[in-house]
């Protein structure tokens, strides 16, 4: 290596901050090895440089002019060249490192932007990466693409999940409401069925009572038919008796009329006797003392006549009373006979009606028996229905609880979907 070339390298080393290993620095370095002033000093200079290089101090150099020994000077030159080369390589490596770091920082910054809620771009935007970073950038780009695609897909899915969870929540709420209404309806139906069962039991008891009463009514109707037939016979007898009484009363009335005629004759005779006695008394009175006895006899005759008149008057009154009584009795017997005839006809009609009633009562009795059986079956059926409805009520309560839990779960799911959607919205994807 020429001196000029060495100078250039020195100046370059000066630009890069290299230090020249002088005799003083070599002495400080070589104090541990006690160098000599001759060849040993040159070797120390070169050795110090080599030690510095070995320690990574690539900025140090050897003043080649200070090395006397040509071989060592050449070695010193080579050592300086090695130092220069190492410095250059180090600079290149530093620059490369800085470039890589910048690229990595750019990629990390892009990732941090995404993590900070920034937009997920299709790529990192690093267009010309360092060749060494190209696979990393490419991988990150692919990761961005996958993340973007996943975010798109996730957002779409989450939208569907949110919509579905809302629908599920609405459906669950609706189902909960429906189940509550259903439970209420079932509860009311159960209560109603219980009342119906109570009513059915009461109806069955009443039907039993009705059947018993119908049985008694049937017996009473049969007894009533016999009684009516007996009454009808009695009415026929009464009618015949009334007819006989009427005929007797007619005969009595005729005899009373004849008695009345006789009494009229007696009354007339008595009246004439009274008048005759009056006239006799009058004549006796006119005759004075001679007619006194005549007058007394006439007075006695008149008294008798008046007694007869009084008796006939009383008899007339009695005859009138008897006539009135006979007329009343005759009218009464006529009415009795008419009533008996009417009653007989009514009795005949009653017999017909009673037979119809008996038939109806018989049918009623049969119907009541059927109703009694039917109501007993109805009571049993309602008992079964009430039991079933209680089971349905229990199941419905459980279903209602399940619907309530499902609604709560759906609400929780919807809330989770909302939260997840909010989280996904943090991944800002445009386009």
């Amino acid at each position: 290596m020429s001196d000029e070339k060495s100078k250039k390298k020195r100046s370059a080393a000066a630009r890069t901050g290299t230090k020249t290993v002088t005799a003083a620095t070599a002495t400080r370095t070589a104090t541990r090895k006690a160098p000599s002033k001759s060849k040993g000093a040159d070797a120390e200079l070169v050795g110090a440089l080599l030690e510095a290089l070995a320690a990574g101090r690539y900025e140090e150099r050897v003043d080649e002019s200070a090395v006397k020994d040509p071989a060592l000077r050449h070695l010193a030159t080579l050592a300086n060249e090695v130092a220069d080369r190492a410095t250059q390589e180090l600079e290149i490596a530093r620059e490369r490192n800085q470039s890589l770091r910048a690229g990595v920082n750019e990629a990390v910054e892009a990732i941090e932007q995404v993590l900070a809620g920034g937009e997920i771009t299709p790529t990192t935007g690093i267009t010309e990466p360092q060749p060494a970073l190209a696979p990393l950038v490419s991988g990150i780009d692919q990761f961005f693409g996958m993340l973007r695609s996943a975010a798109f897909e996730l957002r779409h899915v989450m939208h569907q999940v949110s919509v579905s969870s809302s629908e599920v929540l609405a459906a669950a709420t609706q189902q909960e409401s429906s189940m509550a209404e259903h439970a209420s309806a079932v509860h009311e139906t159960t209560a109603t069925m219980a009342e119906l069962h109570s009513a059915a039991r009461q109806i069955a008891e009443n039907a039993g009572t009705v059947a018993s009463v119908a049985e008694q009514t049937l017996e009473s109707a049969r007894s009533g038919e016999s009684s009516i037939e007996e009454v009808l016979g009695s009415l026929q007898t009464m009618s015949e008796n009334a007819r006989e009484v009427h005929e007797a009363m007619v005969r009595l009335a005729r005899r009373v009329e004849r008695i009345g005629s006789v009494v009229e004759v007696i009354d007339e005779i008595a009246d004439r006797s009274d008048l005759l006695a009056l006239n006799a008394a009058l004549e006796g009175a006119k005759a004075g003392e001679a007619g006194r006895g005549f007058t007394i006899v006439a007075a006695e005759m008149r008294r008798l006549a008046e007694n007869v008149l009084a008796s006939t008057k009383e008899i007339k009154g009695l005859i009138a009373e008897v006539r009135e009584a006979a007329d009343a009795a005759s009218q009464a017997t006529n009415r009795n006979r008419d009533s008996a005839d009417v009653a007989e006809k009514q009795g005949q009609a009653a017999i017909g009606s009673m037979q119809k009633i008996l038939l109806s009562v018989h049918e009623t009795h049969d119907a009541s028996q059927v109703i009694h059986l039917a109501t007993q079956q109805q009571r049993t059926a309602t008992e079964q229905v009430v039991t079933s409805m209680k089971e349905v009520d229990t199941v419905t309560r459980q279903a209602t609880d399940g619907a309530r839990q499902a609604a709560a779960a759906a609400a929780e799911l919807a809330e989770l979907a909302e939260r997840l959607s909010a989280l996904i919205k943090r991944f800002n994807v445009v386009g």
Binding site: D271, R272, L275, L278, N279, A281, L282, G284, A285, K286, T295, A298, A299, R302
Partner: protein, 124 residues
């Protein structure tokens, strides 16, 4: 004395003024029903009176009988008083069985009734 009834009034007349008693069955239009004594409603008997114009029958409701009345039981009315009572047909009063009965003049009764009937016929 003949004791008889006209309406509710019990009257007395001498037996000599009565020709006879007539039965009610023989009553006809010739009988005197209305008189100063009143109107006989019951028409029990007729008192036949024989006057100057012949027999007349006065309808009465009943004849109580022929009674013997002592003179001291008969109290005649003064003429002026008799003329002022019931058209002059009452002659006095008689006490019979502790009751006072009017003693009437049957001829005057018949005459008054006939006169009244004549006036009616003349008016009609």
């Amino acid at each position: 004395m003949v004791v008889f009834d006209v309406g509710e009034r019990q009257l007395l007349t001498p037996a000599s003024s009565v020709r006879r008693f007539a039965p009610a069955a023989t009553i006809d239009d010739s009988w005197i029903r209305e008189s100063p004594l009143g109107t006989a409603a019951g028409l029990g008997r007729g008192l036949v009176v024989a006057g100057a114009e012949g027999e007349s029958t006065l309808a009465v409701d009943g004849i109580r009988g022929i009674r013997s009345v002592p003179p001291e039981a008969i109290h005649p009315l003064p003429p002026i008083a008799a003329a002022m009572v019931m058209g002059g047909i009452v002659r006095g009063v008689a006490e019979i069985d502790e009751e006072l009965l009017l003693l009437v003049d049957l001829f005057a009764v018949v005459a008054a009734a006939r006169a009244k009937n004549s006036m009616k016929r003349e008016r009609s």
